[in-house]
């Protein structure tokens, strides 16, 4: 997406840590000691390497991955079909709602896909109506009915 982004050279330790830590850390007092054993390194090296990967933004986050639905509130995935000449304007209109968490351009008739995150189900419906009023386009609202899997694993 960002064409200028360079894929950094990763050391074998960095690769091993990225792979192991995407799966998860054991819940114990000294988790990095166990991780070090798994990747054949020592605790201090693991800690400093992970902090570097965070600083370099190779890792965006480290910690508990919460099920967003458990944090309270309501969510839905929604889409709009926007003509090219209005795309920029509609992007601004949609993004101006603080309840829009993510928004992606996708190559389809429905070319704008966004997640609406609110305090309540009622508020979801209000935001959908408000987006329709503001943009003049009708919203495709596809809330999840059943979840089969959530977990990103990108081996390196």
């Amino acid at each position: 997406m960002n064409k200028t982004q360079v894929v950094p050279e990763l050391s074998s330790l960095e690769r091993a840590l990225i792979n192991v830590l995407q799966h998860g850390l054991p819940v114990c007092e000294k988790p990095f000691e166990q991780v070090a054993e798994q990747v054949g390194s020592d605790e201090q090296t693991v800690i400093s390497t992970l902090n570097q990967l965070l600083e370099q933004k190779v890792l965006t986050r480290f910690g508990p991955m919460y099920d967003a639905a458990c944090l309270g509130g309501a969510f839905t995935l929604a889409a709009l079909s926007v003509p090219d000449d209005k795309f920029e304007q509609v992007t601004e209109q949609v993004n101006s709602f603080e309840q829009i968490a993510h928004n992606y351009k996708r190559d389809h008739d429905y070319n704008m896909w966004f997640v609406i995150a609110t305090e309540s189900q009622q508020e979801i419906e209000q935001v959908v109506k408000a987006i329709e009023a503001k943009t003049g386009f009708s919203v495709l609202n596809v809330p999840k009915l059943e979840e089969f899997y959530v977990g990103l694993y990108l081996p390196v």
């Binding site: 995407q22 850390l25 890792l59 991955m65 919460y66 458990c70 351009k105 999840k144 959530v150 990108l154």
Partner: protein, 183 residues
């Protein structure tokens, strides 16, 4: 002193405090839970027990690192969407969710006639070919449960396809989901 942990997904005030302290991440130090225990005014054992309870209740999916897709070379993602028969949706949704390259898999409502897809599976890859290959693998799995709609169902003469893949060309907005401080 014992810390009461509820069995449901309801959060106690102390649990909310835990989430507020960690939703931006845990410190990468020798004993991360010691830091957390101190903040919560709990023992380390209690803090570890609370963490385990969150995991058991599905509130925490795992304690893990989130890589930047693009920095790892995963520049391509595709939202594959499928029109599969309702009676097989749960069974086959689970099977698709188990594929190693699928990161999110959900059942969602159709909106006929403009949107006939009910199963969504997100795939990631380092090349366009790679995500095309993943799409084909999902298609092989779903072959027998894909719905082929007659043109009578179609919108303004367009035939509804049984599947598609929507690749993303631009991030327009991305913010984290957060538990709010209040309540």
């Amino acid at each position: 002193m014992s810390v009461s942990t509820s069995q449901s997904k309801e959060l106690t005030p102390l649990e909310r405090q835990y989430i507020l302290l960690t939703q931006n991440g845990l410190p990468i130090v020798e004993k991360p839970y010691h830091w957390l225990a101190e903040q919560l005014d709990l023992t380390v054992e209690q803090t570890l027990a609370m963490t385990e309870s969150f995991k058991e209740r599905g509130i925490i999916r795992r304690i893990a690192a989130v890589p930047n897709h693009y920095k790892l070379g995963y520049q391509f993602n595709g939202m594959t969407v499928w029109d599969i028969s309702d009676e097989h949706a749960s069974e086959f949704g689970r099977l698709v969710g188990q594929l190693p390259f699928v990161s999110h898999c959900y059942l969602r409502p159709r909106h006929l006639p403009s949107w006939n897809y009910n199963l969504f599976a997100m795939v990631h890859g380092t090349t366009q070919d790679e995500i095309q290959k993943y799409r084909s693998q999902i298609k092989d799995l779903l072959q027998d449960v894909l719905v082929e709609r007659s043109s009578n169902d179609a919108n303004q003469g367009n035939t509804l396809r049984s599947n598609d893949m929507l690749t993303s060309s631009k991030i327009l907005k991305k913010t984290g989901l957060r538990l709010k401080q209040k309540q």
